[in-house]
Symmetry: C2
Subunit: 334 residues, 2 copies
DNA sequence: CTGAAAGCGCTTACAG
DNA sequence: CTGAAAGCGCTTACAG
């Protein structure tokens, strides 16, 4: 309905004076075609403004040109700009490679939910996962040979392609920064400890402590869940139980903001009395008062890396997991 | 490569003892098929776990089952969770209707950019636009008969389907709230005035002034651009030029936060001396100090409405533009 | 209400 | 290096 009659192979073949098979070869980069004939085909393509019909191509070749981006959660995840940003990075790389991004936001749940069925039914050439809560679907898809990329470190140690931020390094440098600025008693408010990222940030914190020759006092490790409320609640508890806390590493900016709110309410000076470091370098890190010292992760780059890993797999190239570095961004809070 | 051999019409037809045409009819809801035979087909489908091959279906029918979500901007827009949230609303509705969402994030620019070509080449059944900077592409696609939905009010008054928040009403109630709480001198920091939303919010502000029997003093209307920095800069200027300002309506929460930052730095009490209202009810409205009174817009519902308008058009049903109500959310700042 | 048949626009062994 | 031909799995007039 939409398009005015588009040219087909038949037309290109006729105007170039070759067979449709030859047109197909030229358009798919088969270099066995004689250069002169290839040139003629290319001319016809340019002249007629030909664009290949993806659907027909997909049916004949068995490749759909579609890559699913699966966010294993519900709509609410988009309250965090993280996912949208990663997705746009993925999308850009895929588009540059002639692939389309199909977005699916839905708890993946079991092995036979609708998303699982969809992915197994051959309607996409590959799938990129965010916020994956479990590896069972992954393992099942892996067996089918579907190219996969996970954003974040997988739970189990299968040989699935993944991209992640250096959470350990980030946690380490956040904690070290607090200590080297004089903080003696540094607490951590972790993210959802069911996620590998939260665990790795915690490990970085522990490593920094180890290097300092000290051990975090009991109660300095608070299990949060990445929410603003958790940041507030744990900061309250922390101040009650350990009035001499002088450093807080929150595993994301939102929880750091929660902590800042409590500190301000109690009239505790930041950074003079308590230093605070967040993680993400999201918008709120720049707009909070005081502005938040934080660990920047390059979210767009994360998406692009995921896209590139997918392309590599589709092309049968070798690939390795990608771990992106973090950067300490020093502002006013520590 | 991915899927193990899936059943086709041929298999369903054989096990049901009917022709492939009949299978097709049943699966496409053509109710001219005899109930008994339809039942047999359905049984075969269930038993074999048949799922229609979308690609083959698309090639034969000319309908791709794909809807483009086009965000006329670059990746940076995802710093604002607005787009991700709208997109997920759209995606959910489309998926419920057996359609897939193809995400394209790219400045649309001219009539023959790559996005324009893509949309014109019949690879999608429809397109939903966000953050559209101009209507020229729209008009050109409209002529091709491609079903379109715009999120936001179109610039020109073509008969394109659109969904939008009641920006006028929101601006009106924000301003009225400030006034009814005693503010006499209410300023507005507008959004990017090139967008229809910013203009409408301003109109609401002006209307509230009109109803109060007063006129906003010169300089109370500040042209911002939705950024944190604009909020800060305009608040500074405002306080310098009009020390007696006692109300500020910022056209989004981010600018309101900028204003709050300046007010705090100057030791001006909010809401005692200056009342502040934002727009969006985004995360930062809840986490700012003081918490921000703001105009909530239902972003997920906006996306769902856009999806529904698309479905209506594809089904040849009548549709009307959708304007979603806003809600005043009263917190501490006003 | 139903089926045989042509067709959607590509891709890909196969034979040369 | 190249073309004729079969085929991908559906849909849809058409004739009955």
């Amino acid at each position: 309905m939409a398009a005015p009659a588009r040219p087909t192979y038949a037309v290109i073949a006729k105007t170039a004076g070759v067979s449709e098979a030859t047109v197909s070869r030229v358009l798919n980069g088969d270099d066995s075609v004689h250069p002169e004939r290839a040139r003629r085909v290319q001319e016809a393509v340019d002249k007629l403004g030909y664009k290949k019909n993806r659907v027909a191509s997909a049916l004949a070749s068995g490749r759909t040109g579609l890559i699913a981006v699966v966010i294993d959660d519900d709509l609410s995840v988009f309250a965090d700009p993280f996912y949208g940003t990663v997705t746009s990075g993925v999308s850009r790389i895929l588009m540059e490679n002639g692939l389309q991004t199909v977005l699916m936001v839905s708890p993946v749940g079991s092995l036979d939910g609708s998303v699982a069925h969809y992915l197994k039914s051959g309607e996409v050439d590959g799938a990129i996962f965010f916020a994956l809560h479990s590896d069972i679907l992954i393992n099942s898809l892996k067996k089918l040979g579907l190219p996969l990329v996970i954003t974040g470190t997988p739970h189990s140690s299968s040989d699935v392609a993944f991209v992640d931020t250096d959470n350990f390094g980030g946690g380490h440098s956040a904690t070290k920064h607090l200590m080297s600025n004089g903080a003696k008693k540094v607490a951590i408010i972790t993210g959802d400890i069911g996620t590998t990222a939260a665990k790795q940030r915690l490990d970085g914190y522990l490593q920094a402590y180890r290097e300092s020759g000290h051990v975090p006092a009991k109660g300095l490790i608070c299990e949060g869940d990445y929410s603003f409320e958790a940041g507030k609640a744990h900061c309250e508890k922390l101040l009650d139980a350990h009035p001499d806390v002088d450093g807080i590493f929150a595993s994301n900016d939102l929880m750091a903001l929660g902590a800042l709110t409590v500190l301000r309410d109690r009239g505790i000076a930041v950074p003079e009395q308590v230093r605070v470091v967040g993680f993400d370098d999201s918008l709120i890190a720049q707009t909070s008062a005081p502005a938040l010292t934080t660990i920047r992760q390059d979210v767009v780059a994360l998406g692009e890396a995921a896209g590139s890993l997918m392309i590599a797999q589709l092309n049968g190239q070798d690939w390795e997991p990608v771990i992106l570095p973090t950067e300490l961004v020093i502002r006013a809070s520590a």
